[in-house]
């Protein structure tokens, strides 16, 4: 049984309603918290991200409610996307031309062109300095995605850029940072073009998603729903099947959204909210919440595409009976808890056992973070007995233990 499409549409429409508010309240001047100047959001960020949401949502525009909202937000966004501020930026910083023109390009793609803006953009792209900014591979891929949207065809070098990105080599699942996961999620979005004109991935889908499962476990256990939602996009944007952990991840995010009323991020602080009133309070709320709400919108738009809808229940065909219980004994010993656990406890036993790989990834991540290498080894032994160590996270962890085992031969133990 698949997730109800009406429910997915409702969630996407919620994101588009917040997009309307974000444009109305933040697109002109951005947001700066008067008590914490570092909490600043540039207007260009809101404008660009809203436009990207509209493009992603356009894959579900056959639904009247979605279509009407896209049109409404697009009309609100247009003056900001092509404002004097943006036009001036094209003149002064041609190396960032595509970045500044992101919203214009997305709007043109949705059927809202502007010939004069386009002419200035193309002039900036022909300038000597337009390639004058050095970028990491996923940011290069973003430039290729924007050029593809502008020209209608992918660049002949796009495949080479994809091969230089994390899509073509194993993600560092042991020592990697949040930025590394971010690079992965954005590379997926740009390479697949939200399934409008997707590129062929440089590695098999199964290899990429095996790493995504480890990243997802980390995000769910840290309650990082912003990044977790982006990681979940990897399933509907690359194929039709949802693995047990990804189906569970979607369920967790949906329940958290239902309980809070929106998919939250740590940036929305209750204490700060209660100090604010009127417009300040409203702006704070929209500014701190909109991004994660957009991520849920992106996810639901992708899930609404034909054949990409997640299952309601966790696929449990390959579950090993009793495996979840064995791992929970180890995980529960540390006293750590997260929202996913409430959802987990509501599952049927076969569904829980189908998530043993997810539990294994959570356990490894926690033990590595604590630098509890005995605990890591114990988990690997238990996992090996359950047939759960044929994963990138387990093998990378085993490699780490092998490196550590060599240390006493080099550095005398104190």
């Amino acid at each position: 049984m698949l997730w109800d499409n009406e429910d997915l549409e409702r969630r996407l429409c919620h994101a588009l309603d917040i997009a309307k508010r974000a444009v109305e309240q933040l697109a002109a001047t951005g947001y700066t918290d008067p008590e914490a100047n570092q909490d600043r959001i540039r207007p260009e960020k809101v404008i660009s991200e809203t436009a990207v949401l509209l493009v992603a949502a356009s894959t579900a525009a056959s639904r009247d409610g979605v279509k009407a909202r896209i049109q409404h937000v697009a009309c609100l966004l247009m003056p900001h996307a092509r404002s004097q501020r943006i036009l001036l930026a094209l003149c002064l910083e041609p190396a960032l031309a595509l970045d500044y023109a992101t919203a214009h390009i997305c709007l043109a793609r949705l059927g809202y062109p502007d010939a004069a803006f386009d002419a200035l953009l193309r002039q900036a792209l022909q300038s000597q300095a337009h390639r004058g900014r050095e970028r990491v591979p996923h940011r290069m891929l973003e430039q290729h995605w924007l050029m593809h949207a502008l020209s209608g065809s992918w660049n002949s070098r796009t495949s080479a850029v994809m091969r230089s990105s994390v899509l073509n080599c194993p993600m560092d699942l042991v020592g990697g940072s949040r930025d590394d996961v971010y690079a992965f999620t954005h590379a997926i979005m740009y390479a697949t073009d939200f399934n409008i004109h997707p590129r062929r991935l440089p590695r098999p889908r199964a290899a990429i998603l095996a790493e995504a499962e480890a990243a997802l476990a980390r995000c769910l256990d840290e309650q990082d729903y912003d990044l977790g939602g982006e990681v979940l996009l990897a399933w509907p944007l690359t194929g039709v099947s949802w693995s047990p952990p990804s189906a569970f991840g979607f369920r967790v995010l949906a329940r958290v959204e239902d309980q809070a009323g929106f998919l939250p991020a740590p940036s929305t602080r209750i204490e700060r909210l209660t100090q604010l009133h009127g417009g300040d309070r409203s702006n704070y709320l929209v500014a701190t919440a909109y991004h994660t709400i957009y991520v849920m919108g992106l996810l639901c738009a992708a899930a609404l595409q034909p054949g990409r809808t997640p299952p309601c229940n966790i696929p449990s065909r390959f579950a090993v009976p009793g495996s979840a219980g064995r791992l929970l004994e180890i995980l529960d010993a540390d006293g750590h808890t997260a929202h996913w656990r409430e959802q987990f406890d509501q599952l049927r036993l076969p569904e829980r056992d189908a998530l043993a790989g997810f539990l294994m990834n959570v356990g490894l991540r926690r033990a590595i973070t604590r630098r509890d290498f005995d605990g890591v080894a114990r988990l690997l032994r238990t996992g090996h007995g359950l047939g759960l160590t044929g994963t990138p996270a387990a093998s990378q962890t085993a490699e780490m233990l092998n490196r550590l085992a060599r240390l006493p031969n080099i550095v005398p133990v104190q």
């Binding site: 919620h14 309603d17 917040i18 508010r21 100047n37 570092q38 909490d39 600043r40 960020k45 990491v136 940072s177 949040r178 930025d179 309650q223 729903y225 958290v256 309980q259 809070a260 009323g261 929106f262 939250p264 991020a265 740590p266 929305t268 602080r269 209750i270 909210l273 309070r281 409203s282 709320l285 929209v286 919440a289 709400i293 929202h339």
Partner: protein
């Protein structure tokens, strides 16, 4: 250790003795620039002087700040819905 080996600590100590590096001024600059660099999307690292990196300013990820209580957030959700 070969006869040509250099003592890095000695070099550093000599450089510090010249007082050519004004650590107080660096601290002041970091205090002024830190907040804006911390939220900047790019560059990923700040450097000054030449293409050599003299000062690394790392953005420390938000550690240990959990999502707020979901029921408490639901009041804000009603406001978001307008």
């Amino acid at each position: 250790m070969s006869a040509k080996a250099v003592n890095h600590q000695e070099i550093v100590q000599n450089l510090l003795s010249t007082k050519a590096v004004d650590f107080a001024a660096i601290g002041k600059a970091v205090a002024e620039m830190g907040p804006s660099i911390a939220v900047a999307d790019e560059p990923w690292e700040g450097f000054c002087g030449t293409m050599r990196t003299f000062i690394h300013i790392y953005r420390v990820p938000t550690v240990g700040t959990p999502v707020e209580n979901l029921n408490a957030l639901s009041a804000g959700a009603r406001e978001l819905a307008g």
